[in-house]
Symmetry: C2
Subunit: 334 residues, 2 copies
DNA sequence: CTGAAAGCGCTTACAG
DNA sequence: CTGAAAGCGCTTACAG
């Protein structure tokens, strides 16, 4: 059994109230001598206040919950890392769950998190598998932020996907491309939809139309990107450029094009999305769009744990992207 | 304020003890009618037992802590995902922390985790930045498992790195290579050390010696792999094959070789480690060693949460690897 | 089968 | 500046 506050009180010869006050380290006035005694006792007994008891009395678990589709997809842990960084700086810890895009798993994760009385909850991903029981959230005083998903009910932090898609479109148009294939993420991904919308806006502004057979689903995986690219290239009028909604799919596209004996960027230009670390080390180096996943996390936590403790009205933040031009789009001849 | 057990008791017209018993869902005998009333009240009030209170009385937080160097490196979240899967199946949740290989951060993470009274603790990574206060662990009854790090004090789950390295060595020898460069992970990485040891054993068995200038540090990153490869190739007698201790470094190596106008595998053979999803989609497709990070996590949790609740003596598990032969090693002509 | 009561380890008015 | 006591929301012997 670890030492409790009573043990420390006995050891120091003071009341538990006093121990509590020095252990918590607030600015409650304590006699210098008393404080020293208590500190010594804490040290001697290796006392570490029980977080559950603290949470219970203070009505604050100091826990923030994170729910993401799948923590084994690098994008989510990176956001979570951002969340962790600001959370720990504020004395919170993160409890994370994967839903696998399954509503059932999502529901039980949320339940477990609410049972643990998380002070804040971040829901990552544009899917709709997570449904939040708003009555309970209010009762528990749990602040919520959605990352990458649109809603008015809660605060949101989102990537400027449409703007980025538009920028990619304009870039490719400027390079002379008029037929641009789009490798989409999985069905229902709002991020992918928005990127496509941006691309189409750019094309429309240039008077170029975009057909539905110029879009193929790639499921956000290398394999999906590979297959989608083959489908795109086997159309009656294959595109001269491909925009993949993620770098992982772009890597699949690169393999597919290579296997079809097509050179990138000479025969087909390629642009990805995310700017994962290895994008720079592909050959040709991948032109892509950089988004700071870490930043999404820090911004989100900033919204939740702003220190006031007062629930505010939902806020909506947007995180900028930055296009990184390397070799695969053909803008830079190698 | 969310409904408490008293609210439910009042609503159902029974004692809190009774509510506790039906809410906990054990096999404690309860009258059918009473049970129905309580269940109805729980439903009506949307009662969800407070996890902190439960934890406090039951002396079990139902929390497992995970400490890893950096959750933004995909390898760790994947292990963590394995941990999560078995943890949630057993009614636990995971609290995760990144240390950035900084002893200070590690210390405060461990402290925070112990304060939360985690029932179990998994320490991931071969580094030594994490030091565990054994006295406290015993007092708290916290079970510990180290993933990827050798120790007798706690249970461990480790990858058969040396065996894998040896297998790679033999494979490369069989292909005729006599000079094999090794791209190592960061300094002090036991995984990297073990893989190198295995490689050297294979070489030694074949009567081939391996010099220290045939090893270059690559820090487990693409950039590190790139630079290390250049250094290796600039030696007086450049290797005919390169074994990188991670796929990410292998990708850097691939770029470096390409930039040096060297063809893989014709001029230089290349083997990675990890078998990340995109290894198959590189061109040439990467020959590598597959390790199930997810499995490391499930095995580790299996050791901790075995349901007996009784602390056992440390157990030591080893997880097999599997060499995946693709194009980059030259075994399969493309 | 059901309930009253003590207790888990803290915090925090309240009184002095 | 210090302490006694109530209370946070549960569980669990113990008694009936």
């Amino acid at each position: 059994m670890p030492a409790t506050i009573r043990d420390v009180a006995a050891e120091a010869g003071v009341s538990v109230a006093t121990v509590s006050r020095v252990a918590s380290g607030g600015d409650y006035p304590i006699g210098a001598e008393t404080k020293a005694k208590v500190l010594a006792a804490i040290e001697r007994l290796n006392y570490r206040p029980n977080g559950m008891a603290k949470g219970l009395t203070q009505r604050n678990s100091r826990l923030v919950g994170v729910v993401a589709p799948d923590m084994s997809n690098p994008y989510y842990p990176e956001i979570t890392r951002g969340i962790e960084d600001v959370a720990t700086a504020r004395g919170y810890q993160v409890l994370s769950c994967s839903t696998d895009r399954d509503p059932g798993r999502a529901r039980s994760s949320i339940d477990a998190l609410l049972a643990k009385r998380v002070a804040a909850l971040a829901v990552i991903g544009g899917g709709d598998e997570v449904v939040l029981p708003d009555g309970d959230l209010e009762a528990y005083g749990t602040e919520v932020v959605m990352i990458g998903r649109a809603t008015r009910r809660f605060s949101t932090v989102r990537v400027e996907n449409a703007e980025a898609g538009q920028e990619v479109g304009r870039h490719l148009l400027a390079l002379g491309h008029r037929s641009i294939g789009f490798v989409a993420g999985h069905r229902g991904s709002s991020a992918s939809d928005e990127r496509l919308r941006g691309l189409r806006r750019a094309l429309k502004d240039a008077g170029v139309e975009h057909r539905s057979d110029q879009v193929a689903n790639g499921d956000y995986t290398e394999a999906g990107g590979y297959d989608a690219t083959r489908r795109l290239m086997h159309a009656s009028a294959p595109p001269s450029a491909i925009f993949a909604a993620s770098d992982r799919m772009a890597i699949g596209a690169l393999a597919a094009l290579r296997d079809m004996q097509l050179r990138v960027p000479d025969d087909v230009a390629l642009v990805g999305f995310d700017d994962i670390p290895m994008a720079e080390y592909l050959r040709p180096a991948l032109t892509t769009v950089s988004v700071s996943a870490h930043r999404l996390g820090t911004e989100a936590m900033g919204l939740l744990l702003d220190g006031t403790g007062r629930p505010r009205r939902p806020q909506h933040l947007r995180v900028r992207t930055r296009m990184v031009i390397r070799e695969s789009c053909g803008a830079r001849r190698t």
